[in-house]
Symmetry: C2
Subunit: 198 residues, 2 copies
Amino acid sequence: MNNKELQSQRMKRYFIDAAKEILAEDGVKKLSVRKVGDRAGYSYATIYNYFRDVNELLTYCLADMLEDAYRALIAEKEEGLDPRVQLIRYGERYFSYFSENPVLFQLLFIEDLGTEPEEVTEKMGDLPSVGQLLIESIAACAMAGYILEDEVEVLAELIASSIHGKLLFVLKRRSLESQDVVLKKIRSEIRYLIRRKR
Amino acid sequence: MNNKELQSQRMKRYFIDAAKEILAEDGVKKLSVRKVGDRAGYSYATIYNYFRDVNELLTYCLADMLEDAYRALIAEKEEGLDPRVQLIRYGERYFSYFSENPVLFQLLFIEDLGTEPEEVTEKMGDLPSVGQLLIESIAACAMAGYILEDEVEVLAELIASSIHGKLLFVLKRRSLESQDVVLKKIRSEIRYLIRRKR
DNA sequence: ATAATGAATTTAACAGTGTTAATAATATGA
DNA sequence: TCATATTATTAACACTGTTAAATTCATTAT
């Protein structure tokens, strides 16, 4: 019966949207199943008819947020742009997007949501890995002669992990620096790494 | 009355040690004030006579762990060693120490323990910042002619945040790579970054 | 239309959490 | 030894996620 499936999807959507609202307003820590049920207009126990547990619900939220994140990142793509400039744009956008969406960072990198349901893993796997765009444009930098072919791998790792490290510091306020200052650092780091060695 | 102070210190120590044991065995998430009280041989409520809340207790645990961490790191210092080799050792040890002590990473970078009590902030501030050693040996690399003076800052930032980024991935098992593989990456990254540009 | 069956939802309950106020036990000083 | 502080414990509160039982609702058959 396909109606069942449709209705089930809608119910899930109510809870997911309610959860996303609460996440945006109060953060991960202050979310509770009772709040989600309340906001969705149902009892808290109803949630368990549609999700295995609260982690599964949060995983669906994460998948949603990842789609948005990917769209925001890919919007920075500009055909014909110098690959070095393109790379810097990706790096900046990647960092600033997580800065502005700390809940996404929390759910993706910090929180332990356990084994994701297949449906969501697919969704997340189908999207080119967020870091993939970085790698592509670094490869393009090699093609353009900025760097050597055999530098691509190490540089990709370096830039990606550096950005993630800075995100960790900024979002967990271990760093006192403003996001602006860190953004500049990312720019200058990439400029430093991607240039013809004389 | 100085006896009071001494007794209070001892009581704190009982709870701190009990908490550290539980942290080592079960991790941060499974720790509870009732377990700590049990293990320390007191009622759970007694804890609140010595600590403002559980976060304060955890902050004391963190301070303890940081002392050990600093000792482990500084043990890698070897006078007269080539600064590039010294830097690689620091990087490796820094990474592997957190890998082997994920609770330390959790408490230091992930968990939000709120405003630390002054007593502990001092303790942590007195210790040369853990990353400080890295910076020193990078500066030494400049002195030795491996890199230019004006590269020190960007390289220090780059190496530090890269290691933290990798730690985040490994410890939150976002990365499927073994710690061994990541360790090799750290080595090769530092080797790549610290060398005379021809 | 009415009764019966099955599905969806809610209420009640459980075991756990951190924290606080009132009570019990202990140690201190006169 | 008795009165007074100090310290420790018990009981309680307001939460949390989760499950089982009870209830409501919708659909189908008579």
